[in-house]
């Protein structure tokens, strides 16, 4: 697939396909979470409700309509990203987690605000977070399918320990994704230019060993 390979000369730190799928999936994920909270409120499994301002859909039926519409958007964006990520080597090169020692080193550096950040290059903490949230997202989709179709996809529901447990795992996955979002957004606030790079792409020197922003 030559069109997926790195061209000579400056390339975008974040290829267009990554940026597009990121923002589409981000919007869909927000819709999924807020409409999911609406659905949760109809029959809570924990002793609290989500405030109505944080929910989407207005009532249970509206929440379901949003959830099952955004579902396809998220699914398509996720699929495009994963196919691209596998075919281009992006997942292997940038996302696949590295050893725990690198994670500890980068995490320690990050906590002291000393972690160098160059666009298009993913440090060990980022790799762990992104790989983690991708894995959780896949599990969220699978548990979601298992509680949507506990008869037609009964084997999947069985795999997650039955309907009631699958519903709780689906909720726990949501909580993990929300946790990721909090950290992710906090890190973007600490290094705000990364936000612009995720929008405009940023520029990266072809020499991957020595990444620098090219004006």
């Amino acid at each position: 697939m030559p069109f997926l390979q790195r061209r000579p000369g400056p390339r975008a730190a974040h290829p267009l396909i990554v940026r597009l799928s990121h923002w589409i999936a981000a919007a869909a994920m927000i819709c999924m979470i807020m409409s999911g909270w609406q659905i949760y409120n109809a029959s809570p499994i924990l002793p609290f409700l989500f405030p109505s301002w944080a929910t989407l859909g207005g009532w249970l039926g509206g929440g379901i309509a949003w959830h099952f519409a955004a579902m396809w958007v998220l699914f398509c964006a996720g699929l495009v990203y994963l196919i691209y990520g596998i075919a281009s080597g992006h997942l292997r090169r940038d996302i696949a987690p590295v050893g725990p020692r690198s994670v500890a080193r980068d995490l320690f550096a990050a906590l002291r605000f000393r972690l160098a950040h160059s666009p298009g290059h993913y440090n060990a903490v980022q790799r762990l977070l992104y790989a983690g949230v991708l894995l959780v997202a896949v599990f969220t989709v699978l548990t979601g399918l298992s509680i949507w179709k506990p008869v037609q996809l009964g084997w999947l529901t069985w795999l997650f320990g039955g309907y009631d447990l699958a519903r709780r795992i689906h909720f726990a996955c949501m909580a993990l994704i929300v946790g990721f979002l909090v950290i992710h957004i906090a890190l973007v606030l600490i290094v705000p230019r990364t936000l612009w790079h995720m929008i405009a792409g940023g520029r990266l020197k072809p020499d991957a060993q020595n990444p620098e922003i090219v004006p």
Binding site: S43, W59, G61, A65, W72, P150, V151, L153
Partner: protein, 253 residues
Amino acid sequence: MNGRKPYRPDLSALQPEFRRIERRLMLRGALSLGALSLLGGCGELDSDDAVDCVLRDMLSFNDRVQAWLFSRNRLARIFPASAITKPFPFNAYYPPSEIRTVDPAQWRLELSGLIENKKPWSLRDLRALPQQSQITRHICVEGWSAIGSWSGVPLSLFLKRVGADLRAKYVEVKCFDDYFTSIDMETALHPQTILALDYADETLPPEYGAPMKIRMPTKLGYKNPKYVSAIGVTNTYPGGYWENQGYDWFGGS
């Protein structure tokens, strides 16, 4: 759907056009994911919110996906008697204090539509047919679930007995508590879809839909009508109490 808080749906604007669009989408040929953005309907609705329109189209699309996923041969899991939820929850669009009852001797199941023999059925007639029992999980659209034990006449057997047109699209159900719903013929003919007359080996009590509930473990609670008074077979989309307010019509599990 729950006795403790009857819903005041905000998307009531969704109601009137839903039926029409649903029908149109049903008639349309196979719809690919790629063609989603080209989904019609929205352009023709002038006074409608565009977002509601897209959501409605997506629900219709999901109905088609659900019908495609459905298999008449795939059975819902059967549970042991020890798994039965006690007490099995009451649930309706009104609180338990408003449960309506009928004299079982006077009650008749009325038949309408594409059925050869529309003679009304009494409980005695129905009890004379072969009965089938099941311990299955009832899943509410709200998310909660409960395992119960029902028995009664398989709907497929009944439909064949009365000479229903089994190629028709819909089986509609009317209830004497003013509830109504409708299901696809495929689900009506599913081996676990039964005209339930008993709950836990006793005559169906008022809170669970006496004298007859249609029990189908392949569909969500709002597709499992209680207090049934009439069954019809039709090719005209009949909608439903909750479906007309915005729940997806297929409502499959």
